[in-house]
């Protein structure tokens, strides 16, 4: 679905303070898969993700999405093309001054969808993430997990083929993380959307990724397939913190 060929990206002008964020990475994301990119902070994961929808233009190499070479595209063509890829962020990046439905409506306004169809699509998307009842709230009134659901609904509004997730659960607690990963899995299974997740959390990868790439110091150091752990094995509620930390013996103290 997305393939990167020998892409490199560095920051900074002077030769001595140049930081090579991504160095000659080749990577293929299979259609319909959930692909995790894991590595420590500063490894270049987020830059690699931004290369996939060309939010960052690579210094060298090619970015190929659904058989199309994006590296040669003009800014206008890229703008059109980006609409086929949704994106969510660690800090959600919602418009605080628009309601939940207003936020989901934004990408549809950009594509010029008529008002009525827009309203229909917005309520469809909100229903999909389970937030129909919050449509008229402002993001400030929502919890972190709910904000990320809104962000997912917004990213899905234009029916993208790919969803890029930049540390989607890194500012959420374990239970909410589990919920959001459930939503992402649901997106992948019911809509067939290819998902790429950048994270530094091992659990996230273990829970939902089918393919894993490991990044260190701008290089792709490992790449392997993974059988996602059974969904029920994860952390369902705060009640089980004791169980998780102490094992089952801890329960006898209660």
């Amino acid at each position: 679905m997305i393939s990167l060929h020998e892409v490199s990206k560095s920051y900074g002008q002077q030769r001595n303070d140049r930081l090579a964020a991504v160095q000659g990475v080749t990577l293929a994301v299979e259609e319909g898969s959930i692909h995790g990119i894991i590595g420590p902070s500063g490894a270049g994961k987020s830059t690699l993700l931004r290369l996939m929808n060309m939010l960052e233009a690579p210094d060298a190499g090619r970015v190929i999405v659904a058989g199309q070479d994006w590296t040669g595209m003009s800014e206008t063509e890229l703008r059109q093309a980006r609409r086929s890829i949704g994106m969510i962020f660690q800090q959600f990046n919602l418009l605080q001054n628009r309601t939940v439905s207003g936020n989901v409506s934004v990408p549809l306004e950009l594509t010029g969808l008529p008002r009525r169809q827009r309203a229909e699509r917005v309520s469809e998307c909100l229903k999909f993430v389970g937030l129909s009842d919050k449509a008229e709230e402002y993001p400030a009134a929502l919890s972190g997990g709910q904000k990320q659901r809104v962000a997912i609904a917004r990213a899905l509004a234009n029916q993208p083929k790919v969803l890029l997730c930049d540390e989607p659960t890194s500012s959420l607690d374990p239970k909410t993380t589990h919920d959001i990963l459930g939503v992402l899995r649901h997106v992948n299974e019911t809509l067939g959307v290819t998902i790429v997740i950048v994270t530094h959390e091992m659990d996230v990868v273990a829970q939902i990724c089918q393919q894993v790439s490991v990044m260190e110091d701008g290089l792709l150091t490992d790449n392997f397939a993974l059988q996602p752990r059974n969904q029920t094995a994860a952390i369902p509620s705060p009640k089980s913190y004791r169980e998780q930390l102490l094992g089952t013996e801890g329960l006898s103290d209660v």
Binding site: L55, Q96, N158
Partner: protein, 227 residues
């Protein structure tokens, strides 16, 4: 001794002049506010967008705009009015009167509000622009549908502060026959030793400024849904 009844009497005596002066102040400040919105907003937006790391990053433009805004703001305002006389004459055909006085006021209004706009836009989290880009928004859409939406309460507060400055600036416009409430206070109150009249006019201006600030704060709070 200061006497309130003397103050009221003299204000009633000069009611017609005071009304006229207030009208002139509203006219000059109105033109400045219009200039601030129509030109100051775009200039301030450009100031922001040309900064390092923003979507129109451009060192030359950034330098040119910054210099222009700083130069206009460094003039002692009275000297800017005098300095601009030839330009004012070119634009409105005369250098004296209320309309002519509005021209330098409008110029300074653009520079002042442009800075306020830049500041308001700097408060918008960078992630908002990144989200906009990921959705395939054009540059104009990023500005109108993202930046201005998130910065709107700051933009209103900035305009409020600016408007109050314009009122203050407009008080010296007597020098080119611009009139206005400040000029009235100086000529009738200060120069003719009618301290009560001067005080009365100052009180009027205090009420006016309080009113504007109150309106600005209220609107800004209504628009702000961030917390």
């Amino acid at each position: 001794m200061f006497d309130i009844s003397v103050m009221l009497d003299s204000m009633i005596q000069y009611e017609a002049e005071i009304r006229k002066a207030i009208g002139q102040t509203f006219f000059m400040v109105g033109i400045s506010v219009a200039a601030a919105i129509l030109c100051g907003l775009p200039v301030g937006t450009l100031l922001f967008l040309c900064r390092k790391g923003q979507i129109y990053e451009n060192h030359t433009w950034s330098w040119v705009l910054n210099s222009l805004v700083n130069i206009i703001r460094s003039f002692p305002f009275l000297l800017l009015v005098v300095f601009m006389i030839p330009l004012t004459r070119m634009i409105v055909g005369t250098a004296i009167g209320t309309l002519a006085a509005s021209i330098p006021l409008a110029v300074v209004a653009i520079a002042i509000y442009a800075r306020q706009v830049e500041q308001a836009l700097l408060d918008v989290p960078r992630g908002v622009i990144e989200a906009a880009r990921s959705m395939g928004a054009s540059k104009l859409e990023m500005i109108v549908k993202f930046l201005y939406v998130e910065a709107r309460s700051g933009l209103v507060l900035g305009l409020t502060t600016s408007t109050i400055s314009f009122i203050s600036y407009s008080t010296v416009m007597g020098i080119v026959g611009g009139g206005g409430i400040g000029d009235f206070a100086i000529r009738y109150g200060y120069q003719r030793f009618e301290t009560e009249l001067m005080t009365g006019v100052i009180l009027l201006m205090i009420v006016l400024v309080q009113g504007i600030q109150y309106a600005g704060t209220t609107i800004s709070r209504m628009l702000d849904k961030r917390s």
